[in-house]
C-alpha cells in the first residue's frame, strides 16, 4: 500500500467536507474491495475517510411500506435482520450470499452500491426492487443510479446515507457464483411489487447490472418460472471471461431467472 492520511469523522457532513474540493479522498465503507485494491497498489488515495463512526449511517427500519437500510449496515446485519426477514426475506438471502462470512462482517450495502462492481449482488436486488438511494445531497432512483460498469450517479463528494426499498409482494434472487471468486457469474433478482414486475441481472452483462425487460413482460403476464420459457437475453451483450463465455452466461441468465421466480414464490 502507498501511504495515505486517515480520518474518521462522526457525521456525514464532516465526511462530505473531507471529500470536497477534488481531494481524491476515498470513503472506507467496509473496505472489502478498496483495501485489497490499495494493497495491490492499484489505487493510491491521498486520504481515506473511514465511515465506521458515523452513527447516522446505521440501522434497519421499517417505515410504512418501505424498508430502510443505513448505508453502513453490513451484509451480515442485513442477513440476520428480523426486520428484513419479515419484510423482504429474499434480501436476507442476497446479503447471505455475498462474499464469505468474514467479508460479510465488514462489507456494507452502501460500499457495495457505490462501487457498483458488475458482478456484485446488491445492485441486482436494488434495481429489481426499484429502491431509492438516499445521499447527503438528494435521492436517486435505482434506475438512474446504476450507470454501467463501476459507474454510478454519485458525484465526487456525494455519500450514500441509506437505501429505501418499497416492500414487494414477492422477491427472489438466484445466483450462479464464479467457482473461484464466488462473485456472481450470473445473478438474477426478480421482484413483483408496487412498480410491477422487475428483473435485474448482475454478473452477466458487459456493462454491469441491467434490467431484462422481455422477462419482465413475460412475468407480468404470469409470475411463474414457466413464463420465462424461450426468453433469453442477447448473448452479444454479455460479458465473457475465462470462466464463462457470453453464450453460457446468456443461458444462465434464463436459468437463474427461473430459479429466482421459484425462490420468490417459495
Amino acid at each position: 500500500m502507498y501511504a495515505f492520511d486517515y480520518q474518521r469523522p462522526s457525521t456525514v457532513n464532516e465526511a462530505a467536507a473531507l471529500l470536497a474540493n477534488g481531494s481524491g479522498a476515498k470513503l472506507l465503507a467496509g473496505g472489502q474491495t478498496l483495501i485489497p485494491t490499495m494493497k495491490q497498489r492499484l489505487a493510491s488515495p491521498p486520504l481515506v475517510v473511514d465511515l465506521r463512526d458515523v452513527a447516522e449511517l446505521r440501522g434497519i427500519d421499517r417505515t410504512n411500506d418501505r424498508l430502510v437500510i443505513g448505508a453502513m449496515t453490513t451484509h451480515a446485519q442485513v442477513a440476520e435482520s428480523a426486520v428484513v426477514a419479515s419484510t423482504i426475506p429474499g434480501l436476507c438471502n442476497v446479503a447471505e450470499g455475498i462474499g464469505d462470512p468474514h467479508v460479510r462482517h465488514r462489507g456494507t450495502i452502501g460500499g457495495s452500491l457505490a462501487n457498483n462492481d458488475p458482478a456484485a449482488d446488491y445492485p441486482a436486488a436494488v434495481l429489481a426492487l426499484a429502491a431509492t438511494i438516499y445521499t447527503n445531497k438528494r435521492e436517486i432512483a435505482a434506475d438512474d443510479f446504476f450507470q454501467g460498469l463501476f459507474t454510478t450517479a454519485l458525484e465526487e463528494d456525494e455519500i450514500i446515507t441509506r437505501v429505501s426499498f418499497p416492500i414487494p409482494e414477492r422477491f427472489g434472487y438466484a445466483k450462479f457464483p464464479n467457482p473461484a471468486s464466488r462473485y456472481a457469474m450470473v445473478g438474477v433478482a426478480v421482484a413483483k411489487g408496487p412498480q410491477g414486475v422487475r428483473v435485474a441481472v448482475t454478473g452477466a452483462g458487459q456493462n454491469g447490472v441491467f434490467r431484462a425487460t422481455d422477462m419482465e413482460a413475460a412475468l407480468t403476464n404470469a409470475f411463474t418460472p414457466d413464463a420465462l420459457k424461450g426468453i433469453s437475453v442477447d448473448p452479444s451483450l454479455m460479458n465473457s471471461d475465462i470462466h464463462g463465455d457470453a453464450n453460457y452466461r446468456a443461458h444462465l441468465v434464463t436459468v437463474m431467472a427461473r430459479r429466482a421466480v421459484q425462490a420468490a414464490a417459495a
Binding site: L42, S44, S236
Partner: protein
C-alpha cells in the same frame, strides 16, 4: 490479455471533415477516455497520458501514440503503447477506415487489437473485455459528438485468445 474488437459508426459529417478530426490531437484528447495530455512529439507521433479508472482501480498510463499506413482520407492505423507502472502495460492498434455513407455522412469502420499485461491482466482479466468495449463506446460517442453527431452501429468483442490451459 488480448482483446479484439471491431465496430462501425455512422458519423454526420463528410469524410474530409472526419479525417481531419481523426488527425487532430485536441479532438483525440477529448475523446480518449481519461486522457490528460496528448501532444505532438514528432511526425505522426504523440506523447499521451491517460488515467484509467475502473472502480477502485486508478492507474495512470504514459506512452506514445503513432499514426501509420496513412491513406488520406481513407484509412490509417493508430497504435499506442502505454506503461502504467505497477499496474502493467497496454499496447495495441486500430485500423480505421472511412467510407462515404448516405446523406453525406461517413461510415467509420474500425478493427482493434489490444493487449494488456502485468497486474491488470493477472488480477483483472474478468473485466478486460468489458472495459475495452466501454472505452471504445465512450471514444466513439465522444467522437461522434465532436464531429456533430452520429450513431454507433456495432461494437463486437471477439472472444479473447487464451493459449496455455485454455479449455471450456
Amino acid at each position: 490479455m488480448a482483446v479484439n474488437m471491431s465496430g462501425e459508426v455512422i458519423l454526420a459529417a463528410d469524410r474530409e471533415r472526419v479525417w481531419a478530426m481523426l488527425n487532430d490531437p485536441e479532438v483525440l484528447k477529448v475523446c480518449i477516455p481519461g486522457c490528460e495530455t496528448f501532444e505532438l512529439d514528432g511526425e505522426n507521433t504523440f506523447q499521451a497520458v491517460a488515467r484509467v479508472k475502473i472502480g477502485p482501480v486508478n492507474a495512470r498510463f504514459k506512452g506514445k501514440v503513432t499514426l501509420s499506413d496513412i491513406d488520406a482520407p481513407n484509412s490509417y492505423k493508430i497504435s499506442g503503447e502505454g506503461e502504467g507502472g505497477i499496474a502493467g502495460f497496454a499496447k495495441g492498434g486500430a485500423t480505421v477506415r472511412l467510407e462515404p455513407a448516405e446523406d453525406g455522412g461517413t461510415r467509420l469502420i474500425y478493427d482493434v487489437e489490444a493487449n494488456v499485461g502485468g497486474k491488470i491482466a493477472q488480477l483483472g482479466s474478468r473485466l478486460i473485455n468489458s472495459v475495452a468495449k466501454k472505452n471504445a463506446d465512450t471514444f466513439f460517442a465522444k467522437f461522434a459528438e465532436a464531429v456533430g453527431g452520429g450513431t454507433v452501429v456495432a461494437t463486437n468483442v471477439d472472444e479473447a485468445g487464451t493459449a496455455a490451459g485454455e479449455g471450456s
